[in-house]
């Protein structure tokens, strides 16, 4: 069997088909409302993959804190690459930071999110050949087959139509929300960096990436926009809940005229850190040193009975 056929077999049977059929089941459980199923399923899958994202975020923040020291080392050992490498690794080791620690967690959710995104689109075939292809991926249960074709209309929008195809103003709302939520998410989760050039690049990305994603959303089925918005909102909410100690308050991401109406303050300073459990990443709450075993009061000590 060819390698591509083998890969298709692996991808379809282990990742794509299970996700697709789970999405169909959820649609059935939610009364046939496919739009609702998209949102709920995206939330569930995002929550499952969120720990990897959080780990990646913590790692990148830890790296950001070390940037000034790394720059100092680069200046000091500009002529000695080997020494620079050694000292850099030593710095990482002392700080308990793994420079690759963020990459791996960031990549693990990718195949799952790609499969989820494809599942969403596969259930809204835009032409007969796609519906025919869907028959190869659905499990052979009548309850699943009966859902086809899914109820595409959600909140007055046909989720299988793109904004460009529909040409009606209400279809442009979702891509706009995609742009806004993508921008907010990037702003929230991008770690500050000491290097001015890097900071400039980050700022450019914060503008161009959401616009690019929004442009793509205009071209493809509206169900995809629903997926992106839900994905971004879940990511922001969970990241904020888990990492709010290291983040500025929400209001700092919004213009002052809007933030003034919000209930959660306007200070741009991070909240005071609460003591928390030990971690091995710099930038989190300070580690609690290993507790010395406490001695019980004498009155409570059990005396061993000697027989």
């Amino acid at each position: 069997m060819e390698i591509t056929a083998l890969w298709d077999l692996f991808w379809n049977n282990l990742i794509f088909n299970p996700l697709l059929n789970a999405l169909v089941l959820l649609t059935i459980l939610l009364g046939g409302y496919y739009g609702l199923a998209i949102m709920v399923f995206t939330i569930l899958v995002r929550l499952i993959t969120m720990p990897f994202t959080v780990k990646q975020l913590r790692s990148s923040r830890a790296m950001a804190v070390l940037q000034p020291q790394i720059k100092a080392l680069q200046k000091k050992y500009a002529q000695d690459k080997e020494k620079l490498s050694q000292e850099t690794m030593k710095l990482y080791g002392e700080a308990g930071v793994n420079p690759l620690g963020g990459c791996l967690p960031a990549l693990i959710p990718w195949p799952i999110m790609i499969a989820l995104y494809q599942s969403i689109l596969q259930m809204m075939p835009s032409h007969p050949e796609q519906l025919m292809d869907l028959s190869k991926h659905l499990y052979p249960f009548q309850a699943i087959w009966q859902v086809v074709p899914v109820q595409n209309v959600f909140l007055g929008l046909d989720l299988s139509m793109s904004a460009m195809t529909a040409g009606q103003w209400q279809y442009y709302i979702l891509p706009i929300l995609v742009v806004v939520s993508s921008w907010l998410q990037q702003k929230m989760l991008t770690s500050p960096v000491a290097d001015a050039q890097q900071a400039q690049m980050n700022q450019t990305m914060q503008v161009t990436m959401p616009l690019f994603i929004g442009f793509i959303s205009l071209q493809f089925a509206s169900g995809l926009s629903l997926y992106w918005i839900t994905y971004n909102v879940v990511t922001m909410v969970v990241a904020y809940v888990l990492m709010r100690d290291t983040m500025p308050p929400l209001s700092s991401y919004l213009p002052a005229s809007i933030a003034a109406y919000l209930p959660f303050g306007t200070s741009a300073q991070p909240r005071a850190k609460k003591p928390s459990a030990a971690t091995d990443e710099v930038g989190e709450a300070t580690a609690i040193k290993a507790r010395a075993p406490k001695k019980k009061p004498a009155s409570r000590r059990r005396k061993k009975r000697r027989r």
């Binding site: 591509t4 890969w7 298709d8 991808w11 990742i15 793994n98 690759l100 990459c103 791996l104 990549l107 693990i108 990718w110 195949p111 790609i114 499969a115 494809q118 689109l121 596969q122 809204m124 075939p125 835009s126 032409h127 007969p128 050949e129 796609q130 025919m132 292809d133 028959s135 190869k136 052979p140 009548q142 087959w145 009966q146 086809v148 074709p149 299988s160 793109s162 793509i216 071209q219 493809f220 089925a221 995809l224």
Partner: protein, 387 residues
């Protein structure tokens, strides 16, 4: 240094998996190409090809007689190129629209009184002069959505279903609407007409019967799934596929005489000859069933999904498959007589004459095969140009 090395290995594997997962889906989404079949009338064969044009070819040698629309008069959508086209190749449901100038042709042309009728995905129904390919009507008939259903001509009226949920009845002479009927979902099933009643299936899981003269509903029958295939009337029974079942129904009482279940969906039109129902399934099989009882006589694995109807001629069952093959099976036993590999999926119903088999493929090819051996007599476009 073992942990960092192991982590790099795992990282490398994850990166490869992520890249492969994206790469495998780029270009893998099924394109829209249509499955209109060929129709031979006299010395010409007419077909719509996946390049979105209607062709008239010499039936003997495949020479092009005319094409519509001619290349200098392209209309409608053009494929998107550049970044969008490339991204679309990676994203199912998006990207470059296929189907050429007419947006894809799912109907087999009907020829009557020197006029070729064909519906297209661009929502238009065309009437073309069979000799010249020029428009016969002042302008094409505009439906409310893409036309995927086949056409049926009966007593001067063209009947077809549409993605706008309507069944249309259009005057074949004038190209004007006589009436339309609103169903519950897209209609991909080709209507069948018998004794003044139009029978058709719908994606709302129902079989409809409407009056052919007025379009008024007579009855509906609920099933478990979409009905894409055309109902077939034979021996007083109505045979149709819904989801993974073939039904044999009494059209007068709507009582079901028998049902037959397969492993996937029935999208092919049933063919009923000599008390046998021949029908293909998306589980790759062609089934031959007893028309009276539904008992299985034989089945044959074609290696790919079967969407096209099976054509029976001279005791041989001709069928096309998604596996890029045309097969000839003994109609009595299901034994393979010959199979021919072609370029592209064969999802359109073949046309079989006394000595020739015509098939169209998803690669915009029309093949003329010898009916006895399956040898390729000619193909259009010719092989050198196609390569």
């Amino acid at each position: 240094m073992k942990r960092p090395t192991r982590r790099r290995m795992v990282l490398g594997i994850i990166v490869v998996l992520a890249v492969l997962s994206m790469a495998s889906q780029c270009g893998g989404a099924p394109a829209r190409f249509g499955w209109g079949g060929p129709n031979q009338v006299a010395a010409a064969v007419y077909c719509g090809l996946p390049d979105g044009r209607v062709y008239a070819l010499d039936a003997d040698n495949g020479t092009q007689l005319w094409v519509y629309p001619p290349p200098e008069k392209d209309e409608g959508e053009q494929p998107a190129g550049g970044l969008l086209g490339g991204l679309g190749g990676c994203m199912p449901g998006g990207g470059a629209p296929a189907g050429g100038p007419l947006g894809g042709i799912y109907t087999t042309p009907i020829v009557s009184d020197g006029v070729v009728y064909v519906g297209a995905y661009n929502q238009k129904l065309y009437a073309l002069d069979a000799e010249t390919g020029k428009l016969v009507w002042p302008k094409p008939f505009e439906a409310g959505g893409p036309i995927v259903s086949g056409l049926r001509l009966h007593e001067g009226v063209l009947y077809f279903g549409c993605n706008d949920h309507h069944l249309y009845a259009v005057d074949a002479q004038a190209g004007t609407k006589r009436w339309d009927f609103t169903a519950g979902h897209e209609i991909w099933s080709t209507p069948t007409i018998h004794e003044g009643v139009v029978y058709f299936g719908c994606n709302d899981h129902k079989l409809y019967a409407v009056d052919a003269a007025t379009g008024s509903k007579q009855w509906t029958y609920d099933t478990q799934g979409v009905i894409v295939s055309s109902p077939t009337l034979a021996g007083g029974r109505l045979y149709f596929g819904a989801l993974h079942q073939i039904y044999a129904m009494n059209p007068t009482t709507q009582a079901i005489d028998w049902e037959f279940s397969a492993a996937n969906w029935f999208w092919a039109d049933p063919t009923v000859i000599s008390d046998t129902v021949y029908v293909g399934n998306l589980d790759n099989q062609v089934y031959a069933l007893d028309a009276s009882t539904g008992d299985l006589k034989w089945q044959y694995d074609t290696g790919g999904q079967v969407r096209a109807a099976t054509v029976i001629q001279h005791g041989v069952a001709y069928v096309g498959s998604e596996s890029q093959k045309v097969l000839a099976l003994d109609a009595q036993t299901g034994e393979l007589k010959w199979e021919r590999e072609v370029k592209g999926k064969v999802l359109a119903t073949p046309f079989v004459s006394a000595d020739q088999v015509y098939v169209t493929t998803s690669e915009a090819q029309l093949y003329n095969l010898d009916v006895a051996s399956g040898a390729v007599r000619w193909q259009f476009p010719p092989a050198t140009e196609a390569q």
